[in-house]
Amino acid sequence: MCLAVPMQVKRIEGGFALVSAGNLMRKVNIEMVKPLKVGDYVMVHAGFAIQKIDPQKAKDTLRIFDEIH
């Protein structure tokens, strides 16, 4: 139920954005993550973007796998 999936912002229309993952397109509410820009990735849960994904932190996590572990 707390499932959220990473989706990319394609278009922004006021309080909503059109986001995509693979072939899936959805209109989601972005009140909780504004401001956004096209190209950003957000985590989508039940029709709402609940957080922006931080690309630098994602890279850091992947680097930690490589370096420390």
Partner: protein, 363 residues
């Protein structure tokens, strides 16, 4: 980066498994997850077959449908009997049995019961059916609470008078503490829920680490996330240096999502909530604030339900506390299966019994 494939790299998975094995832990360790998606992915990706047998990752009360009490379903079923009402719900809830029947049974009897992907869809249903009452069944944790909060806020703003809510919104940290206070439950570390933490941040776990001296690791949901979190928890258990570690930094911030928290605080207050198998847990629920009380169906149309006690062999309540594994339930795979589920843990695709049945059962 698409934030999926990168976190499923087989070579790194192998390396992490080796690191876990190299810790050389021989005694039994129980790590509890409190998120249904962790349960599902742990089995779906076969991670249970990769880590040493003495390391158990047990499912806690992390599936909102599973932890909803029979009473909640009984109320929803009773409301569905009213004239001119449309019941709106997330999908999984329909199959959960109350004392006498499920919403799915009611739908097959012709009641108007609809499934939505987002609570926002409820607004349109209410607007398009002005002569009917529309009742949304809101279950979920901190991840879902702000989404339902925003829906309620929007309904108030648009002056929608025929939309109501029956809510069972729950908070995870108080129930983690509840479990730690039960001496029969042996847990050495918590795999903390990534998307609940997206909203609440990592700070609420600091108190748990401080008070109970056990590590809490907030984790993402891809195989590498889960394995790294298990490795970190094991290392901290071994070194006896418990901390709050945020493995899911690409999404989770220390203070969570302040905008989402503001919405929660605007619409809800904290109060007790009832959990299946655990009963009433103080401070574990979100309850509508007085200024939104007109949306509370129980205030508008109070119900008086007869308490029926049914002899019940279902062990969902014990499964949710991590006291028994699904296989230990006398009903599991005999009279209870995903096609004909008896208890909620077999109903929900995030339930421990469903995940066991789907991914663990020997052909």
């Amino acid at each position: 980066m698409r934030y999926i494939d990168e976190f499923r790299d087989k070579k790194i998975i192998q390396r992490l498994i080796t690191k876990i094995k190299d810790l050389g832990i021989s005694e039994p360790i129980n790590i509890m997850n409190v998120c249904g998606t962790h349960t599902v992915n742990f089995f779906k990706f076969g991670l249970n077959t990769l880590i040493p047998e003495n390391i158990k990752v047990i499912s806690g009360p992390g599936c909102p449908v599973c932890v909803s009490e029979e009473d909640f379903i009984d109320k929803a079923v009773a409301y569905s009997e009213l004239k001119d009402i449309i019941i709106v719900s997330f999908g999984d809830l329909l199959k959960v049995r109350g004392t006498t029947s499920s919403l799915k049974d009611k739908r097959s009897q012709g009641k108007d019961i609809r499934v939505v992907y987002s609570s926002l869809d409820t607004l349109e249903i209410a607007i398009n059916n002005p002569k009917k009452r529309v009742l949304f069944l809101g279950v979920g944790f901190e991840t879902t609470a702000p989404t339902i909060g925003l829906t309620i806020k929007e309904a108030k703003k648009r002056k929608i008078k025929n939309l109501f809510f029956l809510l069972s919104l729950k908070r995870i940290p108080p129930v983690m503490e509840y479990l730690l206070n039960d001496k029969e439950i042996k847990i050495q570390g918590f795999l903390c829920p990534g998307h609940v933490s997206t909203i609440i941040g990592t700070k609420p776990y600091e108190e748990i680490v401080e008070r109970y001296k056990l590590p809490c690791c907030v984790a993402g949901f891809e195989p590498l996330d889960i394995l790294e979190a298990i490795y970190i928890l094991l290392r901290e258990i071994l070194e006896k240096k418990p901390s709050v570690y945020n493995q899911y930094q690409r999404v989770v911030k220390k203070m969570g999502n302040p905008k989402a928290l503001r919405i929660i605080n605007e619409i809800f207050k904290i109060g007790p909530s009832c959990w299946r198998g655990m009963g009433k847990v103080e401070n574990s629920g979100f309850i509508l604030k007085d200024r939104y009380i007109d949306f509370d169906i129980e205030r508008i149309i109070p119900l008086r339900l007869k308490k029926e006690h049914k002899k019940n062999l279902c062990l969902c309540g014990e499964v949710l506390k991590g006291k028994v594994e699904p296989l230990q339930c006398p009903l599991y795979a005999k009279v209870c299966s995903p096609l004909n589920p008896y208890g909620p843990c077999m109903v929900s695709q995030e339930g421990a019994c469903y995940a066991y049945y789907r991914y663990q059962r020997k052909a």
